[in-house]
């Protein structure tokens, strides 16, 4: 990551005043959630047939150390430097995404990972950060009266398209959707002209059936079974039904930590990644879920406060982009495993197993802290 490279010209200097404004609550929330994640991953993979007991939880702990390191870097570096490095970062991510079809690991029918000796990297995760950086950089100036028109946004669209397309082609529908939604969230908050908004919506509706044609058969099947999961209870609808059984059987107080039978006996698919929330819900029940969602909500609301208090528009957009990444991933992931939305494989920030996802999540929090503590500097 470019931010990690120390610059000789401007050595990192932390102003005392900046340190006093360090946002401990954001930091603490992130750490609590990440630890809950490791505990849940441990429960989810303890009796795993493929992996040894506890190995994945330990691996996630290593990743957490790396992720916290990345977070520290991302709040130490003055975020204004990110403005300068936005395109470099973007180019780097695009490069990595291009490498994937050439060298990427194929797993589960898609090609998402780059194998880097000791670990594998998921560049699509970095794609989320790249999109936010590029948008913040492009939209940091005064909003045109009445909002941005399409003609003001052509560069942003142009830059977002290759990232979005490459990820969609992997295929990683979940991440592509997140990028799509984050992109429009940032554009909307930056101010979009109402006419342009209507035009975009119309184009979207027209393109929907076209997009349907591009979906893989299994993705179409997922959407159909989402609409009626009982259609194929042992096939495509199996995941959602099993997930709902896991969550529902947790009832008010849960089955207790490490006691989730749905999870322990492998009825849950991708239990430590996309369905981690189901594991948590089965073991901690409704009360645990409300507390967990409360933590997420607090994190989002604190993040929005950071956005509101940001010293400048660039910082606000940057912070808002990070907030959008966290918010959309958390809510969509929970909505999917509870059967509100069709399943498309979106990790739950902090909780889902996966190094790249954890690093990106912690970096997002780091950037938020960054913007927060520099709100009084001039």
């Amino acid at each position: 990551m470019e931010e990690r490279l120390p610059s000789r010209k401007r050595p990192m200097r932390i102003d005392r005043r900046i340190a006093t404004h360090f946002d401990w609550s954001l930091f603490a929330l992130a750490m609590i959630l990440a630890l809950v994640g490791i505990l849940t991953i441990y429960s989810a993979t303890r009796d795993s047939i493929q992996e040894g007991s506890g190995i994945l939880a330990l691996r996630q702990l290593y990743w957490l150390v790396i992720a916290v390191g990345a977070m520290v870097v991302s709040f130490m570096v003055d975020y204004h430097r990110m403005n300068h490095l936005a395109y470099h970062f973007y180019a780097g991510v695009l490069f990595l995404l291009f490498l994937i079809p050439l060298f990427g690991l194929v797993s589960g029918g898609s090609q998402r990972w780059l194998y880097l000796g000791y670990f594998s990297l998921q560049p699509s995760e970095l794609g989320k950060l790249a999109i936010v950086l590029v948008l913040a950089r492009n939209l940091q100036f005064d909003e045109p009266t009445g909002g941005y028109c399409l003609k003001n946004l052509w560069l942003s669209f142009l830059l977002a398209t290759p990232i979005f397309s490459l990820i969609l082609l992997q295929p990683d529908l979940g991440t592509a959707i997140v990028i799509f939604i984050v992109f429009f969230s940032v554009v909307l908050i930056a101010g979009l002209h109402s006419g342009s908004f209507l035009r975009l919506a119309a184009v979207g509706i027209v393109l929907l059936p076209v997009g349907w044609q591009f979906l893989k058969a299994y993705q179409k099947k997922r959407i159909w079974t989402f609409l009626n999961p009982d259609l194929d209870p042992l096939g495509a609808g199996y995941h959602v039904i099993q997930s709902k059984i896991a969550i529902g059987s947790g009832r008010l107080l849960g089955k207790g930590y490490l006691e989730g039978t749905q999870n322990r006996l492998d009825f849950l698919p991708a239990q430590h990644t996309d369905f981690i929330f189901s594991v948590f819900a089965e073991e901690w029940g409704f009360v645990g879920c409300v507390i967990l969602l409360g933590l997420y909500l607090t994190l989002i609301l604190l993040s929005l406060r950071v956005v509101r208090r940001a010293r400048d528009r660039f910082g606000a957009l940057l912070a808002f982009g990070m907030t959008a990444i966290l918010f959309w991933q958390a809510t969509i992931s929970v909505a999917m495993v509870t059967g509100i939305l069709p399943v498309a494989g979106i990790p739950l920030p902090f909780l889902s197993y996966g190094g790249s996802s954890l690093v990106v999540t912690m970096v997002a929090v780091g950037v938020l802290i960054n913007v927060s503590m520099r709100r009084f500097t001039f």
């Binding site: 204004h80 403005n83 300068h84 950089r137 492009n138 940091q140 100036f141 005064d142 909003e143 909307l188 908050i189 930056a190 101010g191 099993q242 709902k244 059984i245 896991a246 969550i247 529902g248 059987s249 947790g250 009832r251 008010l252 039978t261 749905q262 006996l265 492998d266 009825f267 819900a281 029940g285 409704f286 879920c289 409300v290 969602l293 997420y296 909500l297 989002i300 609301l301 929005l304 956005v307 509101r308 940001a310 010293r311 400048d312 528009r313 660039f314 606000a316 918010f327 809510t331 929970v334 909505a335 509870t338 059967g339 509100i340």
Partner: protein, 627 residues
């Protein structure tokens, strides 16, 4: 390139949008909480049930069905282990290759084995496929020794019902079958499940609740791929109770061999208790076929068989009794004082009633006939006349009193009652009065009269024991697997007929001379071993008007049925025997020799038995005498 850092502050519009957003975010989270409330609190119970169902499988451990023994503890039915050939495709790298190898090894058609795999294509994972049930011992050894070459193939031990004597006592013992959908519906509460075997016929059905073992089970926790993780609960299986019968396997065997190649029935009763010593019906079937799972084809063959092997002729066959019915007439006439034993009636070879001529079986007739001669020589004309004096209703009364025309109440399904006609029956059945010309036929056991061999056996036992009708029975005791008594059965009186003094004496002297007299019709049953008393019967299947043709010259299906009813010894009788041979011709030649064989066997067994006797038997007989 756009200018770099603008350090432009955010404006009021931006802030307003943010404030809106805070409410939107909160609403989204509220929605999620609502969704969780629905799943976890409102529907939590249902999902808990589903999750339990998900992970818990029930594995049945069959309780072994009780064994059945004869009166001297010889095995009649048991449930030895048998081996089913199973395949777990998940354990075989290439199931097809394994199956081809297996087919080669066992000398089986590989299509058959591959077919079993194809048929179970959509089975749940980690569920074994049954390739073949109850394989032979050679195959068991072959599979065991080649285990290493047959990944995924295994053997499962399962008790299999076995009837060592095959068809010999099939009608008595019955058979098992897989529980049907209707039965299952009715019996599910009693712990029956799909695929369970249940007694469908004979003793197996009647003693179902005793013989049946209680299935045990294991509640097994499985993971999503069906692998057993651990046993949660276990219910021990309980073996079924054993039954001890009154049947004597050796005597049964003799009776079975006597009927070899014939259609008919033989019954041996203890006269003083009504206990059945032997009961055979032929042709028969092999109940083992049902135990290993009868194929549709085999079932159809049995059903289509013109000889009806499933029919238990001893209790279901209704035959005209012919001359053995004369015993009823003889008793009725003496009891009603229509004749004295010395009363002589003349037989010139036929009797004319109205415009019909009733012939005697003996051309030229028997001359002057008294009670004794009438029975010994089975003079038809003598009994035509007794019939006319008694009238059909009085004949019917005595017949019923002696147990004819009603079921004996033996504890087997499907017993028939036979038919004893009278005026009321005629009116009801045909709306006609009884014509006097119909009575002579009834008097010699023809016409509408029909009886079952078992009814005749109880009647003969009553004649032998002084007038007591016992309900025929054949289960002595039921014991649990550890030997404790569950239920004991004994003789049950239907009624004692209050005969006048002398009636039975006259009758029994006559019956003795049927076999032992110089002119008796049953001379072929005469034994040097024991004095036998009896009566022959030749039941016409088709009325031969005016003609007398030798039965052997008729086509098989219209040949006469041969009867012989007997008891022995003639003084202080112990057993009553009934032999019926369908289309066996004359009772004296077609049935009497069979009865002799069985009776002689009984007494030779009894001689040997002195050494074998277990004490229980003697006490039972004494008890029976006391009754």
């Amino acid at each position: 390139m756009l200018p770099l850092t603008s350090k432009k502050e955010i404006d009021e519009q931006f802030r307003r949008r943010l404030r809106l957003l805070i409410s939107a975010v909160s609403i989204v989270f509220l929605l999620l909480v609502g969704r969780l409330w629905v799943l976890q609190v409102l529907q939590g119970e249902r999902f808990t049930y589903l999750s339990e169902n998900n992970r818990i499988r029930l594995r049945k451990v069959p309780g072994i069905r009780g064994a059945v023994f004869d009166r001297r503890g010889r095995l009649l039915i048991h449930s030895p282990p048998s081996f089913d050939l199973l395949l777990m495709p998940e354990d075989a790298e290439e199931p097809e290759v394994t199956l081809r190898r297996l087919a080669l090894l066992l000398g089986r058609d590989e299509k058959e084995l591959l077919g079993a795999l194809a048929k179970n294509k959509f089975r749940p994972p980690f569920e074994e496929i049954i390739l073949s049930k109850a394989i032979d011992w050679r195959s068991v050894v072959a599979v065991e020794t080649h285990q290493m070459d047959l990944p995924g193939v295994s053997l499962r031990v399962r008790p299999k019902r076995s009837y060592p004597d095959k068809g010999m006592n099939a009608h008595l013992l019955g058979y098992l079958g897989e529980i049907g959908p209707a039965q299952l519906k009715a019996l599910r509460e009693r712990g029956y499940g799909l695929g369970d075997e249940i007694g469908q016929f004979g003793l197996e059905k009647m003693l179902e609740k005793h013989l049946r073992g209680k299935n045990g089970g294991q509640q097994v926790e499985v993971n999503a791929i069906g692998r057993q993780v651990r046993v949660l609960h276990q219910v021990r299986d309980v073996p079924g109770h054993s039954a001890y019968l009154t049947i004597d396997r050796e005597l049964q065997k003799t009776a079975y061999q006597a009927l070899d190649g014939k259609e008919g029935a033989i019954i041996v009763l203890e006269v003083n208790s009504g206990a059945i010593l032997a009961l055979v019906s032929t042709p028969t079937f092999d109940p083992n076929v049902f135990a290993r799972g009868i194929t549709l084809e085999e079932w159809q063959t049995i059903l289509r068989d013109e000889m009806h092997p499933l029919q238990n002729r001893a209790i279901q066959g209704q035959y005209p009794p012919g001359s053995i019915f004369k015993i009823v007439l003889a008793i009725a006439a003496l009891e009603e004082s229509e004749i004295e034993p010395e009363t002589r009636l003349f037989c010139n070879g036929s009797l004319v009633v109205g415009n019909r001529v009733f012939r005697d079986w003996k051309k030229g007739g028997h001359g002057w006939v008294d009670f004794h001669k009438g029975i010994v020589e089975s003079c038809d004309v003598y009994f035509y006349q007794l019939g006319q004096r008694l009238g059909v209703d009085r004949i019917a009364n005595y017949a019923r009193m002696l147990g004819l025309g009603v079921k004996t109440g033996i504890a087997l399904e499907g017993e028939m009652s036979g038919l004893i006609p009278d005026t009321r029956w005629k009116k009801k059945r045909f709306g006609q009065r009884w014509f006097p010309g119909e009575t002579p036929s009834v008097a010699i056991g023809q016409g509408y009269v029909s009886v079952t061999p078992l009814q005749m056996a109880t009647l003969m036992a009553a004649v032998a024991n002084g007038g007591t009708l016992y309900r025929p029975w054949f289960v002595r005791r039921v014991e649990s697997a550890d030997g404790s008594l569950i239920q004991e059965y004994g003789p049950e009186k239907i009624r004692s007929v209050p005969f006048k003094k002398g009636t039975l004496g006259h009758l029994r002297r006559a019956l003795r001379d049927v076999v032992n007299g110089a002119r008796g019709t049953g001379r072929k049953a005469r034994s040097d071993l024991v004095e036998i008393a009896g009566k022959t019967g030749t039941a016409q299947v088709v009325q031969m008007r005016g003609k007398i043709i030798k039965s052997e010259q008729l086509p098989y299906s219209i040949r006469d049925h041969a009867w012989f009813v007997a008891y022995a010894p003639s003084e202080r009788p112990e057993i009553a025997v009934v032999v019926l041979v369908e289309h066996g011709g004359h009772g004296g030649s077609g049935a009497a020799p069979l009865a002799k064989k069985v009776i002689e066997r009984y007494f030779s067994l009894k001689g040997n038995q002195v050494a074998l006797s277990d004490g229980r038997e003697t006490s039972e007989q004494e008890e029976a005498h006391a009754n």
